[in-house]
Each structure stands twice: as C-alpha cells, then as structure tokens.
Symmetry: C2
Subunit: 465 residues, 2 copies
C-alpha cells in the first residue's frame, strides 16, 4: 500500500477508500471495545484518529502502542462521528515499528514548558509547538528563495571562515587547527599562525555583506542566506551565537529602491506564511499569542511610513514632553531602543516604519554619506512586537569617501583593499539590507525567545546536540 | 526610465522602443564615426551592443568608457545589422557611473587562466566563465529547494558549531573564544575549556546528518543545505576545507525508496540546468568541455543501473583478467577509487550506477546492517566524469545493533546518547543521503577544479576575501 500523508487525508479525504498512514502516536484513549489512537506524521499540526476495534487486535499489540511509539496503520478512511476531527481511519492492520517506554520517554504528557523543551531540543520537533515552528521556518526559507529568484537575483554563498574582520559587527569566534595544548610559537614568543591551517588567524563570519557586494557588482542582484556568528556573551531571549542571515545586494539601486525592495520582501514573506502555514499559525495564535494573526495582517494592510531619523527623534521628544515615559534617553545621536521603535510603529504611526538617514557615528563605515556631513543613507525597518527587523543602506560608492570613512573608523586599508577596489573599478550606486532569519521567525511565529525558533540554539555554555 | 535587464532585451526584444540598460563594459571598439560598446549586467552570459555615434558624445566621455567601467545607456533598441548579436541599442544618452583605469585593472584582456582568476577571486565574478558558473550555482540551489519543497520535505538548519564528533567524517576545525596568547589552564595544566564560550571544546560540523535524523524522525521528511568543514591538509582539485552539503533524510524509507529519491533528485537538478541555464552551459561547453551537454543528457537518458558492491567487484575483477589496468588494487573489502567507479559507469554499463551493500568496515557506524553480518545498506551513486556524486544509506533503526556497532567503531555512548534515543523512542526505518553541492556543480558545469565552482574557496593557506 502506498503511504498517504495525514495532511492530504485531512485536506482532500478519499472517503471509504483503504489508506495506509505511518507516524508517531500522540495519544491513545478508549474503552473495552475500541482504542482511539491519534497519530501524527509531521505533515501537519493535525493528527489523524485511528479507531482500533479491540476484537481485531491482540491486547499485547494494543498495549505496546503508547505515546511516542511509531506505527503504520492500514484501514478504511471514514467520516468521523466524534468531535474534533472530520475523518478517521478504521484500522484493519497495525504494524508497530518502534515502541516507546512510557516510564522514560521525556515527552509523556502535554504542556511541557518551553524551558524544559529547550533542554531536550533533540526531541522537541516531536511536539506540536516545534512541529509548527519548523514547518513555518521551512516555509519562510522557501519564500525567501522564491522571492529573490523571481526577481532574477542570484543566491551567493559567501565564506563562513574568514580572515577579515572589517565589518566590525561584533565579537568573533576563532577558527583553528592548532593544537591548543601545544601551541607553536614564533621567534617573538607569540602564537605562530603560519602553522595554522590557513597560515593566518581566521574567524567565523559576522556578515556576508562585503563579499555579497563583490558579487552584486558583477552579477547585478544577489542575496546571501547563510549562518553568521557573534561571540557575544549575551544570555538574552534576543541573542544567538549562531544564526542565519539573508543579505540582498543590488547594483544600480539607491536607498529608495532599497526601501521598496525591503517592503515588498517582508510583505511577501508574511503573505506566504498566511497563505501556506495557516494551520500552524492558528495553533501558535491559540496557544501563545492571540494577537499573532492580526499582527501579520497589520503588516500587509499598510504602506510602511518612511521617515528620517531626525523626524523620528522629534516625534519621540514631543511624546516625552506630553508625558510618555521611556526607559532609555532620547536625543539626536542616540541609538534607538526597541521601546522607541515600537512606540513609533504601534502608537504614533500605527504602521510599520522605515527610518532613514541616521547619524554617521552610529552606523557602519560602508554607508553612503549624505551631503549634510552628519548623516548616512542607512535605513531600518521597524515592526510591531520586535522593533528593528531589517537594517540596510545605500552603500558609499565613492572610493575616496569610503577610504576616508573606513580610516576614521579604524579599519586599515590592508584589510579591505579588495572591497575598496570595487569602487576603483567600475563603481556604481548600490544598496542592500540584512534580515536576521530568526528575527523574522520571532515575528511570524509570535514566539518570544529566539532559542525557540531555531532547531539547535547556540548560546553561552550551550552547544548541545 | 525604468531599467531593462539585458536578458529580457535579448530574449523578448521590444524593437524600436527606447530602453535604458546599465552594466559594465566588456569591450569597446569602433572607428572615427562610431563606437561599439559591449556591456554586461550579469543577467545573462550575453552582452548587449551599444552603438554610440561620436558626433553625439564628447570625446572625453567616450574615452572614459573602458573595459570594466560602469555605464548607463538610454537609446533605441533596434535590430542589429552586425554579426554576433540580434539587437543593439543606439545610444541617445550615456552616463558613466564609474571609470576603470586600464593601466591597473586586472581583468583587462580576455583569456586569463583559471589559476590567475583564483588569485583575484574577488573580481572573477565579472568574467564570462564565473558569471556562468555562479548563475548555474544559483539555479542548482534553487532547483534543490524546489525539489524537496514539492515533496513536502522541510529544510532544516542543523548546527554549524558542534560539540559532537560522532560522524567521524574527518579532521575538524576547533572553534573558540579563548585568547590563544593567554590560554587559561585547569589544575591538571591542560586548557580549561570551561572558560571557553560554550564551556567545552567545540568544532565546525562535518555533516548535519545526525541532527537531520532527529528532525526526520519527527517531521517525516527533511533536508539540510548548509556549509560543512573538513580540516584535511589536501591541496587537490577535489578538496575544499569549506563546502556546502545537501542531506535529505526520510522516515519510513528503506534503501529502495532512498535510491528512487536520489535518482529522481539528481535527474531533476540536471534537467533544471538544461532547462534554465542553457546559454551558460553552452558557453562552458564551448570553452572548457565539449562533452558537457551530452554528459548531462546521458544522465537523463538512462535508468541508473543498481548493483551490489560485490557484483561491482566481480565486474572489475573480470575486467582486470581481460587486461584492463587500474592504478589502485581491486579486491572485496577495498574502498573503490573514482577510476573504478568511472569504469563501471562509462565503460561497463554506460549508465549511471547505484552501488549498494558495502562491506561494513568501510562505511559509517549508522548504516543498517544486512543479515549476512558483513555488509551494510549503504548506497553510492556513481556518475560519469566524477565518480561518486552521492553517498547514502538506510540507517540502522535497531537500538542494540546501532549501539554495538558504534562501540566497536570507538564512538562512546556518552557522545551520541541523544542520537541513540531516537532508536529507543518510536524508532522507524529511515534513510537518507548526502550530496556535496560543489561535486554536483563540477558535474553540471564541467569544470575540473572544485575551487572554480564556489565563490570564495577555502583551502590550506587560503582564506582570502
């Protein structure tokens, strides 16, 4: 018998036909005549109910079917009389592939805390919550590839191991093949990196942007989608040491093109989730976040408000005068906190906001400088619930300005000569942005801890599984 | 003027309409009356020819247009009278975005060697060859996501930083935040990894398979597509220290399902390349590998021959008796070399081959053991030109057998208890395989050095850009 997936049986049921389903037991209940076994195969948040007439099956078989056991069932698909499901399978044959000891299986009962599930991250994909999150995660990744492919942009794999530290985005992890118990030393008594695998110190990348620009300035439009790393010792619900980033970069784009792209892109992802993950979103909305669906619809319902940083500061200062309290101070030159960002989005404009033209001191060296000498053509997208979801900019295309700004910010020319060369040889206006994949997933799933939207979170003192 | 991409203008020309194209100058030639400027924008291997009437433009503007310069041109799209192109643009306006000093630009002339281009990997996407390769690379990645998405399999991000060394697939890179110049020591005088970021030694992953299995045994079917790392000191055209792997894993699959999936998958990728990358393939065929297209068609034309390892050895031994010479010896128990694999594919069967049931000693601990006690349910797909392109297996689903095999191979239970747990709790038959992305690209592009199919190759003593 060809196996059917539960998703198909529920969505397009072939009533009164014999079907075979295979999956893991979620619950079993019943009476002396019949067992009701709910199984799930990962294709859907929904289980299918198997009805086993106890006269047909040995009691040892039935008793071996416990939560977590893997079984295959062949039987008639019929309309269910019970509440809670539309169809069910009347079992004719049951095969037990793998039992599951009820005395030791960690996922016995329902309603484990998210904290407990983090400790058994290797098993949590078997829960409804993480099944839903991982299906949404897959769908968001697929939507992202689809979006850029349709635009004609090319997916570029920028390097993970890098000898460059030019982005300056944060603390880096060292990568080495040296034996730490017997480090080779040079004449000066320092570690002799000439003996390391790459002949020099190397680290894990914090961003693929600089290499992405190299590709965009040849191929026109590109995007990266890969892991990035920050060795910050931050034990917060917002930080991961290893996370995935999407970084599009487009030649001949100015900041307005970039804003258009980012708005279209984020709306495409949210629309995709509503179109393709509705059951999973409904489950998460019901169990974790009643506002989830309306928040997703809110993003689609509005043109994002486009304001400058200076305008944003003025609005916040006015709000403070009128009695609004913030934890962190507001002044021109300050790096805004998510409380400020969320105020602008949720209270003031009641729309997503794109903020542009930030003070150059709080942004990276590669952003295009405005003629005012004070601001750069950065752009952040601010969302409800999470604040900044995207950061980007038009890039400085002028060689002299870029070199001068890099030097002022302490980045030596010898580290970025190859990047600077793109401005010497056929430079063009171009722009791009970065989206933290897990940041997007926090927004789309409504989860509040970033460790719950990645299969195997890496955080200080945690690299399990 | 809305910008048009060159690919569109060539494929669906809007003759006698005014268009704007932007890109980089590949060549300029001409006479006293007119300049012919070939520009490329990355959307296609093809350039578009711009015809500039010298009466309309200043000589300083025209002389600033050199190879590598970035320009934008607005003009009438007309049918070309010249050989070599179907359409051209009669320039009305030309804007030079960035000049390109002919005295220092490294990509002046045509026909640079691949070795030279590797040294300037940051610029090589601007060449025809690497434009073609990177467009194909994008298309193969997109085809892979499409294939698995249509199957209902979920993309899983397995961890990059790992504290597990269970796969045993090769030398690993250490990841650390310890200051190598001032390593903390414990009481025994060894490195104190408790002070490291993760509180223990960590490395870069060599495979996502084990974590992929965890997800497959909950979600049904999954695939990974991420970077993997081997710190082997191999300076060969086949080895990279950093490369990308695709690893599908499917619950309730046996080895035959796995072979069907792998055959369908590889054919899907090859068909996608022929359907979507024809111009780039033709370019590579013309310049590097005349057999390229026919080799791709060869894969599609045949059902892959399915043989056991034992049958393969017999065929090779017979061939040797009949006078065939191999560099490496052939005997039952030997790990086959690509010369053997290619003989079976290219000479003997003249079809791609799937070889199964390998001696257990030469395969990994997680492969399902056959009842003969000698072989395991591994499966490799052998292709013309490159030999093994895919390696996979049905996995050992039995807890006791898996534990016993792991122990015999020196893998301590404490390192893989979480993996073993999947066989204690609801174990099911399952299978999967791994495809090295760059291996696929070597086959599809016909390139012979793996450093030429990844944007920024990492090899011993090379982590540039």
């Amino acid at each position: 018998m060809k196996r059917s997936m539960i998703k198909e049986l529920i969505n397009t049921p072939t009533i009164n036909e014999t079907v075979t389903v295979k999956g893991w037991v979620r619950t079993k209940r019943g009476n002396k005549a019949v067992s009701f076994i709910a199984i799930n195969d990962g294709s859907s948040i929904h289980n299918i109910q198997v009805v086993a007439d106890l006269e047909k099956f040995s009691s040892s078989l039935i008793s071996s079917i416990t939560t977590g056991a893997a079984i295959g069932v062949t039987g008639l698909l019929v309309t269910s009389q019970g509440a809670g499901q539309s169809v069910e399978v009347q079992a004719q044959e049951i095969e037990v592939y793998g039992t599951c000891d009820p005395n030791t299986y960690p996922l016995q009962k329902k309603g484990h805390s998210l904290e407990f599930l983090r400790e058994i991250a290797y098993l949590r994909p078997r829960t409804n919550t993480f099944g839903a999150i991982l299906r949404i995660r897959h769908n968001m990744a697929f939507a992202i590839h689809n979006f850029f492919h349709q635009k004609g942009y090319y997916y570029i794999h920028t390097p993970i191991i890098t000898s460059s530290d030019a982005e300056g985005a944060g603390q880096m992890f060292r990568v080495t093949t040296l034996d730490l118990e017997k480090l080779p030393k040079n004449k000066e008594g320092n570690v002799d990196y000439k003996k390391d695998f790459f002949g020099k110190p190397t680290s894990l990348t914090v961003s693929g942007q600089l290499e992405g620009e190299l590709a965009a300035l040849a191929l026109g439009g590109i995007y990266t989608f890969g892991p990035t790393f920050r060795a910050e010792n931050s034990n917060t619900p917002r930080h991961l040491a290893e996370f995935w980033m999407i970084e599009p970069e487009v030649a001949f784009f100015d900041i307005n093109d970039n804003m258009d792209l980012a708005e279209e892109f984020t709306k495409y992802c949210v629309q995709w989730a509503l179109d393709h993950c509705r059951d999973d979103l409904n489950f998460l909305a019901e169990h974790y976040d009643k506002e989830l669906i309306s928040r997703l619809e809110f993003v689609l319902a509005h043109n994002y408000e486009r304001i400058t940083y200076t305008q944003g500061i003025e609005i916040l200062e006015t709000a403070i005068k009128e009695g609004k309290k913030f934890e962190f101070p507001v002044y021109w030159g300050a790096d805004l906190s998510s409380e400020h960002e969320r105020y602008l989005v949720e209270q003031h404009f009641q729309k997503p906001v794109i903020m542009t033209d930030y003070p150059k001191e709080i942004k990276a060296f590669y952003m295009k400088q405005n003629e005012d000498g004070k601001t750069v053509r950065g752009m952040d997208i601010l969302f409800p619930f999470i604040g900044e979801i995207i950061g980007g900019s038009e890039r400085e295309a002028d060689y002299e300005k870029l070199l001068s700004h890099a030097t002022k910010m302490g980045i030596p020319e010898k580290d970025i000569w190859w990047y600077l060369d793109t401005r010497r040889y056929g430079t063009v206006p171009h722009a791009g942005f970065g989206l933290g994949f897990e940041r997007l997933l926090l927004f789309v799933t409504g989860m509040s801890n970033i460790r719950d939207v990645i299969p195997f979170p890496r955080t200080p003192n945690n690299a399990e599984f």
